[in-house]
Symmetry: C2
Subunit: 208 residues, 2 copies
DNA sequence: TCACTAACGGGTCTGTGGTTCCGTTAGTGA
DNA sequence: TCACTAACGGAACCACAGACCCGTTAGTGA
């Protein structure tokens, strides 16, 4: 803590990078299969074919490992589609999220990541960063809608994109309701309607 | 497992009830302070001034205890307010949720409950039941809005109420954004707008 | 009021998640 | 290509959450 250098920072190339890669993939698998609660670092080490000492030294705790995994996931981005209308773009986004959360592996993984973030501020910060990046990637479609005059000037793009995802995550984590394509479409419609009506216009020009 | 009777079912009165009460309150406190991860049943027993054997016998696991706590919480209901307009009612609901989630203790508790539910199907079922009850309590205000002609016939009341909460929980768990009164008001507005536009009309008459 | 036994609880034991020690392997810079 | 040392990893070790045993307390029905 006090004496500085974290392991993995001085010689980040070669073996160190390979170990990190293997451990993160193993952690992903383990989280997906066991969930956040059932995760132990020795098991991750076994899956990664790496000494468990290494895992404990580099990441220390389960939440530390999850935080690093989130950082890694944040780096790989998926491209967005463009349909020419706000509703079309938001629907594409909603369906992408819906498909991701419905996929047995991905859905379980995201649940585990979110659960981990509830208990640790560093992990929570990593999760926020991850979603901030994803939201930023889709924000342009709202800006284009503003330019086209579909939604009023001053509309906060991030708020709109988040409004699309929110009901889907609510279903996944809280209500347990069906998470099908019509649900996704409804989420997109609701967000588009609200955006058109000027609900997401920021008066002071301040962004979240 | 195979031989039937669960402890606490044959003599549910007197001491058994007192123990349950004390343990649930202690679990609530512990969850609030330590979060879901940092919870151990011996600590709960200590707080409740109850033998730890009792806690292990009656509830067995952390998730089992959380599931019972959720059932207990579901039984105590908070009344809703009526303002005479859909937007007014939804705003009242949004602010209630916002205040609950912002409160340091309550917010932490709900985070912990949701995290626990991600890892265990019984707990998840209990969580779904809890929110289903809460949603039902507020559904009448949407039905009244239908009667007043504010929103189209066939609008699913539950969908509307859930649409109000969703962005608030999204902020709490995922984006980490500000969770203030304007945010709550915006959530209510967005839901009201979408409802008015007929986004939540169910075609087949089937409810979620 | 009394007998019956469900449910409680202190004490002890154990499996395992996590830590530490120290020798080995392999990046890195000259 | 060589010296230096960061980073890895097997093995022994430890602490503690959770299981178990068995004697005690107190609801319940007659």
């Amino acid at each position: 803590m006090t004496d500085g250098v974290e392991p993995g920072t001085v010689r980040p190339g070669g073996r160190t990078a390979r170990v990190r890669e293997a451990v993160l993939r193993a952690a992903e698998d383990a989280l997906t299969e066991q969930g956040f609660t059932g995760l132990d670092l020795a098991d991750v080490a076994r899956r990664a074919q790496v000494g468990k000492t290494t895992v404990y030294r580099r990441w220390g705790t389960v939440t530390g490992l999850v935080a690093d995994l989130l950082q890694d996931m944040a780096e790989q981005s998926a491209p967005r589609s463009e349909t020419g209308s706000l509703l079309g773009d938001l629907t594409a986004n909603a369906r992408l999220v819906q498909r991701t959360l419905t996929d047995p592996r991905q859905g379980a993984l995201f649940k585990a990541l979110i659960a981990a973030a509830t208990g640790d501020v560093k992990t929570a910060a990593a999760l926020h960063r991850f979603y901030d990046i994803r939201v930023r990637e889709w924000a342009p479609c709202v800006r284009q809608a503003v330019e086209r005059g579909e939604v009023p000037e001053g509309t906060d793009p991030h708020d709109v994109i988040r409004a699309v995802s929110a009901p889907l995550y609510y279903h996944l984590l809280i209500s347990g309701g069906r998470l099908d394509e019509p649900t996704a479409d409804r989420a997109a419609e609701a967000a588009a309607m609200a955006a058109r009506a000027g609900v997401f216009v920021r008066v002071g020009g301040k962004h979240a």
